[in-house]
């Protein structure tokens, strides 16, 4: 039994270098704590992707981005994944912010009253959330990024939300759509 224990990684590591043992065990413990409390703090990551129990939605919304009235930015295919991340995620946040009365998504669930009472907390929030100025500047940035990716000058940008559902045969059917923003540069 003693021999078996001696053969373990942790015991050997402890015997080899107690400081290194502390660093490695500390790192793993903090990773575990981050996971237990679902509170990520890089480099202690939470590995719970796709684990949240969700139910099948009835209605879906698809973001449709058109440049210069004719070029569809197909962020679902045709681009590499890092491209797609930057072509869709910031615009998604823009749409969310619009739907949330121009309030940053980080503020959802944080009551304004409480944040006003804690000065330090409020200061951090103010420094890290997106403000209306950033909201206004986002589309200009997006047009610059499209020029970087596609090599075309952007004269107009149209963001639309398409609402759809799956029918009984699981075919996607479009219900309606609305323009989120149409900008000219």
């Amino acid at each position: 039994m003693k021999n078996l224990l001696h053969n373990t990684y942790l015991v050997r590591l402890y015997e080899y270098d107690k400081k290194l043992f502390g660093i490695i065990v500390g790192f793993f413990s903090l990773t575990l704590i981050a996971n237990v409390f679902k509170a990520q703090a890089a480099p202690f990551f939470v590995w719970g992707m796709f684990s949240e129990r969700i139910s099948v939605k009835e209605e879906f919304q698809v973001m449709k981005i058109t440049v210069n009235d004719s070029i569809l930015i197909d962020y679902t295919a045709g681009y590499r994944h890092p491209h797609r991340f930057y072509l869709s995620s910031p615009v998604n946040a823009y749409v969310e912010m619009q739907q949330n009365n121009h309030l940053d998504k980080a503020m959802i669930g944080y009551p304004d009253k409480l944040s006003h009472r804690i000065k330090f907390y409020r200061a951090i929030v103010e420094k890290t959330i997106n403000h209306p100025e950033q909201y206004k500047a986002l589309l200009e940035w997006y047009s610059r990024y499209i020029r970087e990716v596609r090599g075309i000058a952007v004269t107009s940008l149209n963001i639309q939300l398409v609402y759809c559902h799956y029918d009984e045969d699981h075919k996607l059917k479009e219900d309606s759509s609305r323009v989120v923003n149409k900008s000219f540069f």
Partner: protein, 282 residues
């Protein structure tokens, strides 16, 4: 004390890891997502994670992305650093410098991408064992990286068990529709869309695939007790990520760098008989 990994093997592993990193940097360059290519983004998502908050309130992230030449300098240093490490794997200060720069890149990439993805975590952590000043410390750190790889999948397994999503037959259908509806909308007539529709019409089959994927995540727990199945774990990991790519549209190719820690690199006869060459368990 004799060493498990010789200097030669350590250098081989260093080169393998940094060739992978260099390829990833090239992939990000052609994908226009290096710091100097981000066009000074304005939206950020710092909240929730203290490290991102620190970057944001210190102004470091915005200072780098708002200054094109500085961003280009950081990107160039990462490229040249990776290249020099491949040529001179014994230069530890280059590896330490690279790790710091990559950490900055990692945070900025996620901060302005508006989502804290784990795609680059492997590249963030894989260079750390090479900080070791001697090969025995390297051996222990390299093993720690292997245990971390096992942890990732084991935690993913436990998350699905404790959140009961594993026992919900609707879960894979919900994930599929949530993530692939935009693709289906833009590409209604492709074979891929036809396959998704097939799986939607056969939810039982979809659930079996899901259970199989979660079981493969659970399989990583075996790695804590023996190294015998390490190559099978690599296969399981690759299959899991092919599944995630197809059914959830999330591309985790860069996490594969961690699989180097599951590969048995050849050792000389002397090393095989060294006291360190005993199979570890946790």
């Amino acid at each position: 004390m004799e060493q498990w990994y010789s200097t030669n093997i350590r250098h081989t592993i260093t080169r393998c890891v940094f060739v992978f990193i260099l390829l990833s940097l090239i992939y990000h360059y052609v994908s226009h997502t290096l710091l100097h290519q981000l066009q000074a983004p304005v939206f950020q998502f710092a909240f929730i994670d203290p490290m991102y908050i620190l970057f944001s309130i210190s102004g470091l992230s915005s200072f780098i992305v708002q200054h094109f030449w500085l961003a280009l300098f950081v990107d160039s240093c990462m490229f040249i650093g990776a290249l020099l490490i491949i040529l001179f794997p014994q230069k530890r200060f280059l590896i330490i410098l690279f790790s710091v720069l990559y950490f900055i890149y990692f945070v900025i990439y996620n901060l302005y991408g508006m989502h804290h993805t784990h795609i680059l975590v492997g590249i963030l952590l894989a260079p750390l064992p090479f900080w070791a000043s001697n090969n025995t410390t390297f051996t222990y750190l390299w093993s720690a990286l292997r245990y971390y790889t096992l942890c990732i999948y084991s935690l993913a397994f436990f998350w699905k068990v404790f959140r009961h999503s594993l026992f919900s037959p609707d879960q894979p259908m919900a994930v599929l529709k949530d993530n692939l509806t935009p693709y289906i909308y833009f590409h209604p007539d492709t074979t891929q869309t036809a396959l998704y529709q097939f799986f939607m019409q056969h939810p039982g089959l979809l659930y079996i695939f899901y259970l199989f994927a979660v079981a493969m995540e659970g399989f990583f727990l075996v790695g804590f007790f023996t190294r015998r199945f390490d190559h099978a774990l690599i296969t399981a990991g690759i299959l899991i990520h092919i599944g995630i790519l197809f059914f959830a549209d999330a591309f985790f190719i860069e996490i594969f760098i961690l699989y180097f820690s599951l590969i048995k690199f050849p050792m000389s006869a002397k090393e095989t008989h060294s006291p360190q060459a005993v199979e570890y368990t946790i």
